[in-house]
């Protein structure tokens, strides 16, 4: 069981999809229920990973699976090579966690041809999980492309008015990047074979050991970086995002925001940066600048949006800017901040998209001016919305703060000082656009008669939101659950990239003079 846990987890949704194909298309309830069960089971299958302490002790790859797959006479070889470490662990968990929520959100939203929708969702899940756990570049590429197709259809078939344009834009943007990446992958392999380095397939761990010459790294990083930058998306390659988000159905937006965008950042951390460490310093100023510009730009543009969903989409650009800035800081805080911000963005922005979905289902519009005073009609909704809003703003005690703070601090300590200072102003803008939107949608009196008869959240909708809220506070209050398992992997990654990751000097509490007593009182059994 544990030997092929990853395979089981990755392909279980695919199996589910095959079964979905045999369910009659007019049995809507069964289709959705079955899909929900499949995603839940997938989540349960992935749970042992989250509880496994091995990640806290060792930074390497675990749960390895290795089989030879395609071997053309030693000339071309690729393997079925899976594994997970502290970096991909939480992204895998995020994926399996967000999928049941996404399925639940479709309950009322997707009416037409739900069979296709469910099948594509499950296919998408396999693609996402596969991409996170593959250790073979070629396999990664296959899964990477596998994600693209279902998403294209999800937007193109179940999307809004302008869906075809959005879907095609999404597809072409991403495909351009992927093709560049494919060329780069083939080149790396070709180079490895040419230089006589023993290469057994496209395994990235072996590629890590390659010593590519600088100029090769330069171009390869450019190719990989471009591809991932589109996916992140980094300024100025972000324009597919607002369109795709706005047109996609709620479940699509949630998955797009929560997982697909993370592919880009994950790609940087797992592939682009460690594979080409020599070229990395050359690009850091550029990439950090783009991240910071993305933060400010996304915030300013989000501020002026008239469509709630577009606003959230642009806020994603800003949030992902924090992630990238943290990652490029190349130190523990920044990396941890970036990684946790990935999770945060998945939770908070996913929740925001769900919220937008709730009001869209009720009113079939997303224009801010159509709303106002909803807090009167929907108090529970108002509370949940408020919490998520503040989590997105990055209020301390919620998840957003931990990520932003660490990313900024990491950038500041990591030589990106002025970038960090400028990026910190994003904290102000975040408050402006989110609160302004909240005010216009929720506060004031009900002016639009169409809003008079709005119903508050149903039990199902609350159930959809609750798990996300739990994580909003969990990550905000005790992020160590996540850091503990990330730290070894990040340390290893940073060492590999030739940077000193670990603490040079720890300031021990013992250095505090005896005059100041320090008392430790565990909260669990504190005595009065």
């Amino acid at each position: 069981m544990a030997d092929n846990l990853l395979s089981l987890m990755t392909f279980f949704p695919l199996l589910g999809m095959l079964f979905v194909l045999f369910i009659p298309r007019d049995n809507d309830g069964l289709l959705k229920g079955f899909t929900l069960v499949v995603t839940l089971i997938t989540f349960v299958i992935s749970l042992p990973l989250a509880f496994d302490n091995v990640f806290a002790t060792s930074g390497g790859m675990h749960y390895r699976e290795f089989h030879e797959w395609i071997n053309i006479g030693g000339f071309f070889q690729m393997n079925y090579n899976l594994g997970v470490d502290g970096i991909s662990l939480w992204l895998v968990m995020l994926t399996t966690f967000i999928m049941p929520i996404a399925v639940l959100s479709t309950w009322k939203a997707v009416e037409k041809n739900s069979k296709g929708f469910m099948a594509l969702l499950l296919l998408l899940e396999t693609g996402m999980l596969g991409a996170f756990v593959s250790l073979d570049l070629f396999l990664f590429y296959i899964f990477w492309e596998l994600m693209l197709i279902p998403m294209y259809f999800l937007i193109g078939i179940w999307g809004g008015k302008n869906r075809i344009y959005a879907a095609v834009k999404f597809f072409i943007y991403t495909a351009v990047g992927s093709l560049l990446m494919l060329v780069a992958i083939i080149f790396v392999y070709y180079y490895a074979v040419q230089s006589g380095a023993l290469i057994n397939g496209f395994g990235i761990q072996e590629f890590y050991k390659l010593n590519l010459p600088y100029h090769a790294q330069y171009w390869l990083f450019l190719a990989f970086g471009f591809s991932f930058a589109i996916k992140v998306p980094m300024f100025p390659l972000h324009t597919w995002l607002p369109d795709a988000h706005t047109e996609a159905p709620t479940a699509g937006s949630v998955i797009l925001a929560a997982v697909l965008l993370k592919m880009g950042t994950y790609g940087y951390v797992r592939f682009a940066m460690p594979l080409f460490p020599d070229a990395l310093p050359t690009f850091i100023p550029l990439l950090a600048t783009l991240s910071v510009v993305g933060i400010i730009y996304g915030s300013l543009v989000a501020m002026m949006q008239e469509d709630v969903k577009k606003l959230v989409a642009y806020s994603s650009v800003a949030h992902l800017g924090f992630v990238m800035l943290g990652v490029f800081a190349m130190n523990m805080q920044g990396m941890a901040g970036g990684m946790i911000q990935m999770i945060n963005h998945g939770v908070s922005t996913g929740a925001l998209f769900l919220i937008v979905g709730f009001i869209y289902e009720r009113r079939h519009t997303r224009m801010i001016t159509e709303f106002g005073g909803l807090a009167h009609k929907m108090p529970v909704f108002a509370t949940i919305f408020l919490i998520v809003t503040f989590s997105s703003i990055g209020l301390p005690g919620t998840n957003g703060f931990v990520g932003e703070f660490l990313a900024l601090m990491g950038a500041f300590e990591g030589g990106l000082r002025w970038y960090a200072v400028v990026a910190t102003t994003g904290v102000i803008f975040a408050a402006v656009y989110m609160l302004w939107m909240y005010q216009r949608v929720m506060m004031g009196t009900v002016t639009n008669p169409a809003n008079e008869s709005l119903k508050d959240l149903s039990a199902r909708e609350v159930v959809v939101m609750l798990p996300l809220l739990v994580f909003v506070f969990w990550i905000g209050v005790y992020p160590n659950t996540f850091f503990d398992k990330m730290n070894p992997a990040m340390e290893q990654l940073l060492t590999q990239m030739g940077h000193k990751p670990a603490i040079v000097e720890v300031h021990h509490p013992a250095a505090i003079p005896a005059a100041h007593a320090v008392e430790h009182a565990p909260a669990a059994h504190g005595h009065n």
Partner: protein, 654 residues
Amino acid sequence: MYSNLWLIPFFPLVGSIINGLLGKKIKNEKVIGGLATLMMFCSFLVACQNFFRLMGDSVKTHQVVIGSWMSVGNLQIDWGFLLDPLSAVMIMIVTGVGTLIHLYSIGYMHGEVGFYRFFSYLNLFACAMLMLVLGNNALVMFIGWEGVGLCSYLLIGYYFEKKSAGDAAKKAFVVNRVGDFGFLCGLFTLFWALGSKGVWTVNFVEITENAHLLQTGGLLVTVVTLCFFLGACGKSAQIPLYTWLPDAMEGPTPVSALIHAATMVTAGVYMIGRMNILFAMAPTTMMTVAIVGAATAFFAATIGLAQNDIKRVLAYSTVSQLGYMFLAMGVGAFSAGIFHLMTHAFFKACLFLGSGSVIHGMHHAYHHAHLHDDPQDMRNMGGLRKKMPITFITFLVSTIAISGIPLFSGFFSKDEILWWSFGSNRGHWLLWIIGAVAAGMTAFYMFRLVFMTFFGEQKTDARAKDHIPESPLTITIPLMILGLLAVIGGYIGIPAILGGSNRFEHWLEPVFGEALEMHHIAAHGAHATEYALMGISVAIAIIGIFVAWTMYIKNPELPAKFTAKFAGAYRLIFNKWFIDELYDFLFVNPCKRIGTFLWRGFDVKVVDGVVNGVAWVTKGIGAGLRYTQSGYLHNYAVAMVVGVVVIVGYYVFG
């Protein structure tokens, strides 16, 4: 020993959660309000216990660590609390005044739709504020720091159906965020500055111990402290970030009393006190703090002269008084600043609650007469002293206290600040003059307020006139307690020159002593000078009161003449120096314009233009090429033959 410290913020948190989740079901106002108040009171008891224990303890600094919050690389942040004389004073103020205001709110908020919501927020605020003052590291403090900002947002926006309330709430949060930007930058710089010396920490105790690693007066320390000062400006409504506080009066009055007078806005002062060692090392910053403080004290007082809304006057008065506290911090009078913080908490809370009592009465009367006049406009009041005797007396006592009349609490604290600003080696006589003039203006506008509200003819609409009642006990009891404190609160800090021993300063000695001693900050001067200055400031205050009396009691027509004569100046002051408009012009509108431009201009035109342009080019090429597909057989045949000819030609001649 002090391990139950965590209970202090924990009680209000529990209250907040219970009321927030179940309040709607409970419905009974007595249960909801009682629970919230009880939680605050429990917290007050624990605070008292710890306070007295600390009094008897020889070790004055205690840390209690509950657990780890974040541990990443060399950044280790704990959920930890710090009890020292400074935070002990603060928790006493917060829980004490907080309990009274909770009690008051039960009466004041009676019958409101969101009663449970109000108490949930109020308790949450108390929790955040206590986290702020108790945090043993900058991050836990920052939780409280932003937490109080959040609660302030929620409570200002309590009447969310009013657009002005929503606007004010948003403004408060955003302006606070500007301050938070400073706080974060300061924190990053500090962490990095100390880290490069080998001490990676955000813990206050460790910062204090290792501050000597940084160069006194150096650039780093100056930058760090200036950044933190920006944070303090945001939270404590100093120039240039004060504009949110007057607008914050959109919230219910108890909120104004608790958050926007007694506790939250003083967080900036507290933070500077907490980091006194760093500020002492940066004379430039100290000077900036003092100048900004003095300027704010003066500037806000001028605006206060002309306001007609009872709460707005108090709001500007608060800004002005906070200016005094910053002045104190800037000239090195740390303990005097905290002392004024405390006395101000008493008398300003009392003033706000008193004004709330008046508004409550007015509102009641208007409601009775079915009128929709503004219950907060002082021009509709007058002669209320007979209708609301308890409110009147407590209000008067507090007004005297804030005006700096001897024997009342405000006198001791304010006078000490003025003395330091003159006599300290970090002070300057100009600062004293500004401070003294501002004190005179304070006396003027405060008594103007009292005279317009409680004396003279009753100008209320005749239909509502006779229905103004004295407020219920839940409102008057807190008023009386606070009024009492406003009188006697100053006696714990009688300066040596008046025969006291200034026990307050001694109490805070462990916190501030080291910094003052190390950097030789002290107020020097002859006793005669000190007496003289004291006399002058008292005289100025009395002049202010006299002028107010002349203008509003003796010759009520004077103000009109006055404003007619100085119309330009009056308009300027009345419109708050047009600062809000200036900010709109400088920051808000450009941001909106840039945002719109980036979206419609850059995003849609440039980036999408390029993307769509590529698509158009592809499409165009395709459109051109498709004409080669004529559909005529011969064209294809010719193409094939040409191909064959070329290939054969290549073999023949190539």
